[in-house]
Symmetry: C2
Subunit: 486 residues, 2 copies
């Protein structure tokens, strides 16, 4: 080799920093049950959900990603020049060609750093995980130049009125990835399952809403848990010499969370798989009647579900419940969801308790793409917990009555994919946290302009969707008006 690059790989590649953005507004699921006239507990117990985040017509996929990237870099004091890769995982498509990543490059304009690889990646809720894998691989590759990779996983999850609507939500997570990190990705254990299926998809480009087959999606999710869990355990055994790996080989399980109840069922499913892998183990003596069942015939078997949810009850409480804080209080954020789970765990668990613990994540995107993979905690996570500060931030939100939620959803429907549009929702403290980017205008050529609510302190930034080319001839300069202070 003529090069100065080391022939060996970067080591201990993992997560250095995490930030999360969620909308300031939420609707309470108890109130929504009343408003929708459904039976009490349908959303809160049946789905396991408590609150749901809401974006009005001032927020789109660009704005929430701008907010979380700016926020992470500011809070952790990372320079724009320290980023060598930036990739966005999302299924909230408002432009078929132009990536959200390219919009985020506005934040880097002043630094002059445009040598940043990575664009957008899409398959339902799986995009963020693909971006994470790509970032880890880049750092381990010969192309790595020592800088950080930044992954943004974000979505606005909205459904037409009906059974699926209470499973909405919205959020954005940013992850800073580099070598010698406190949260290290386990090497060689990533287990994937991909398949062609129409369980949930978004073929109607005229609508913000997906086509949904809920029961099929649930079955696909459970099947993907089965396949990836068994592959993951086999790789764990081969790669790390873990003998007879089971749930006990893992300290925390973090799941993609369409709604919390499905995650509880999935933990039960891990127990069922442990049983099927070792049916004669004496601790499974009570389940002998399930011994001859085939996995693929049991995705909706209530008896199996009930028995193994009971069996994994304690494991669910200790290994998974700490990761559901955001999901229960925000709802589904698609690509962001599993990383909201990781953020919840890190925010709510003391660093000392996490040391040398293995955290296994299950990421699922309909269509379908799923992976199970893991991290081991090898350093202090308390700076991350302090910055995330999730319980406090979740409590600092504005409750919106269901009727207002309906009105917001109607407004989104009416203004979906319009041009020459000035959003109407107020820019104030009720609607936005300090430091939030919001949509200022969609011009007559669909070009979007953003501004930022004042952050705490003197930070303020105006992002102009039109004059972002830094001097290329032929660009019309249209400046946004001053940002509104919250």
């Amino acid at each position: 080799m003529l090069s100065g690059m080391p022939p060996t790989r970067a080591q201990n590649v993992g997560i250095h920093a995490v930030d999360i953005y969620f909308p300031r507004k939420y609707v309470d699921q108890v109130e929504l049950e009343k408003h929708d006239g459904v039976s009490q507990g349908k959303y809160t117990i049946g789905l396991g959900q408590s609150k749901m985040g809401i974006c009005d017509d001032r927020e789109d996929i660009n704005s929430i990603c701008l907010t979380v990237v700016k926020s992470l870099l500011e809070k952790y004091g990372i320079a724009y020049n320290d980023i060598g890769r930036l990739e966005v995982g999302t299924e909230t498509i408002i432009d078929k060609s132009k990536s959200v990543k390219s919009v985020l490059m506005q934040l880097f304009a002043d630094s002059g750093n445009t040598d940043i690889e990575g664009i957008d990646t899409t398959n339902a809720c799986y995009g963020g995980t693909n971006a994470v894998f790509n970032s880890v691989n880049w750092i381990e590759s010969s192309a790595w130049d020592g800088r950080y990779a930044l992954v943004v996983a974000a979505d606005i999850a909205v459904y037409k009125s009906g059974a699926a609507r209470p499973t909405g939500g919205a959020g954005a997570v940013a992850l800073l990835i580099g070598a010698d990190a406190p949260l290290v990705f386990d090497a060689g254990v990533r287990a994937t399952h991909m398949e062609h299926v129409y369980d949930f998809y978004k073929p109607d480009l005229h609508s913000e809403y997906p086509e949904v087959d809920g029961p099929l999606s649930n079955s696909c999710y459970i099947k993907a848990v089965d396949v990836t869990y068994n592959r993951y355990l086999d790789k764990l055994s081969r790669q790390e010499g873990v003998e007879n790996p089971t749930m006990d080989s893992v300290d925390y399980f973090v799941f993609h969370c369409p709604y919390a109840k499905l995650v509880a069922k999935s933990v039960g499913r891990l127990g069922f798989n442990d049983f099927l892998r070792n049916p004669d183990d004496e601790r499974f003596a009570a389940f002998a009647q399930f011994k001859d069942l085939k996995r693929e015939n049991t995705y909706t078997n209530r008896e199996v579900e009930k028995a193994f949810m009971e069996y994994t009850k304690d494991a669910f409480k200790t290994k998974t419940l700490p990761s559901l804080l955001v999901a229960k209080n925000l709802g589904n954020s698609y690509c962001a969801s599993v990383y909201c789970g990781l953020a919840s765990l890190l925010s709510e668990t003391p660093s000392s308790q996490l040391q040398n613990k293995r955290i296994t994540l299950f990421s699922y995107g309909s269509g379908l793409a799923a992976s199970m993979f893991s991290l081991t905690v090898r350093g202090d996570t308390s700076p991350i917990a302090k910055i995330l500060n999730l319980s406090s931030r979740l409590a600092d939100r504005t409750e919106i009555p269901p009727a207002e939620f309906d009105a917001i959803m109607n407004l989104r429907e009416q203004t979906h994919n319009v041009k020459d549009y000035d959003p109407v929702s107020p820019v104030d403290e009720r609607n936005f946290f300090p430091g939030t980017y919001y949509l200022k205008r969609v011009d007559e050529k669909f070009r979007r302009t953003y501004e930022r609510v004042a952050a705490k302190g003197p930070v303020r930034s105006v992002l102009n969707g039109v004059n972002g080319t830094n001097g290329v001839n032929g660009v019309h300069s249209v400046n946004g008006v001053n940002g509104v202070k919250a």
Copy 2:
């Protein structure tokens, strides 16, 4: 390390196999000039284009990707189980959530291989390059398990009637990437430029057509050539010790090709950059009047353009023209374009002539994302050339009169994003090459079913968009009818 993974990276990672698919139908640009009533030479000389590929209502992004993947694996005799990563770069979005990659998983269903990472990646014409980088990185990472990565770069480029329409086209390229390849990616020289700009984008989800600002797009392209070329030369110098790198340091330049004339101009631009890097070099004596120009003020400077196109005339012929065969005869294929260029070069140049030669690629996607990077030929490329066989395949197409082209475009407009639709274009030898997948039906829930025209020999395959979940409960089985033999 407990693992059995080597701490060193895979070496000589690069391209083992290439296949290309383009539609059987084309319109001649001379005929189009007459039909459109524009001045003679406007498309053929002004744009440098000869023919343009056309997809009717039987072809969509899924079908052309199915065709090229199936074709590559068959022709090269690669087993489905040999693929460990598959990623699609495209901006032809017909579903906002479900990836083309997930549709391609139907081809792998019989093999049982579902442990295949990678999904779709999007930023205008750049997605394929992002997929290539991700694949190389994967093979060099600790996650690599020895299998190949398969990259699919594909798009259907269509414009509303008017000035941009003759710059359309359609194509799909598949690249098989692995270690110890005949075409090795140069390490550490990838140079990227990313920026926020609205030069070309697709914000109108109701339409298949983009928003286009042609002059701005041209300027952005030239700016991106400048920035990435200078970064690339600097990295070449640092990484490989090349002193005073110039165009002479590279044997072949392959460009993303919106139309051939812009590529000729871009080669001139490389010469202009060589001059600006070493203005006092005696071979640039004739250009002293341009010495004080700033790059950013010359993107549309005709004098500079003319002078340096003349200066690079021979270099263009030897270094770049061989890569324009497909582009001139097919038109723009967006993400596939730069890889159509590489395929052209490999198909039309004897392997012996390519040995130890450096091929530098420039990939550009509006919005914008651009990279310059290179390959060195380290092995026999004749099997690839033999399989590509491009001149012969391009000659084996069907010419369509412009009036029929217009009718096809009208049909695409009327049927864009419809459901419960049976495509009407005939499935016959005039319209499709043997082995082409075509759209059979879009059902009442937008689910798409594909069938395959008989390949030469007994190969035939029916792909069913609905029953592809292999046994997950709740899936309705809807079988397609028999495929039509060509």
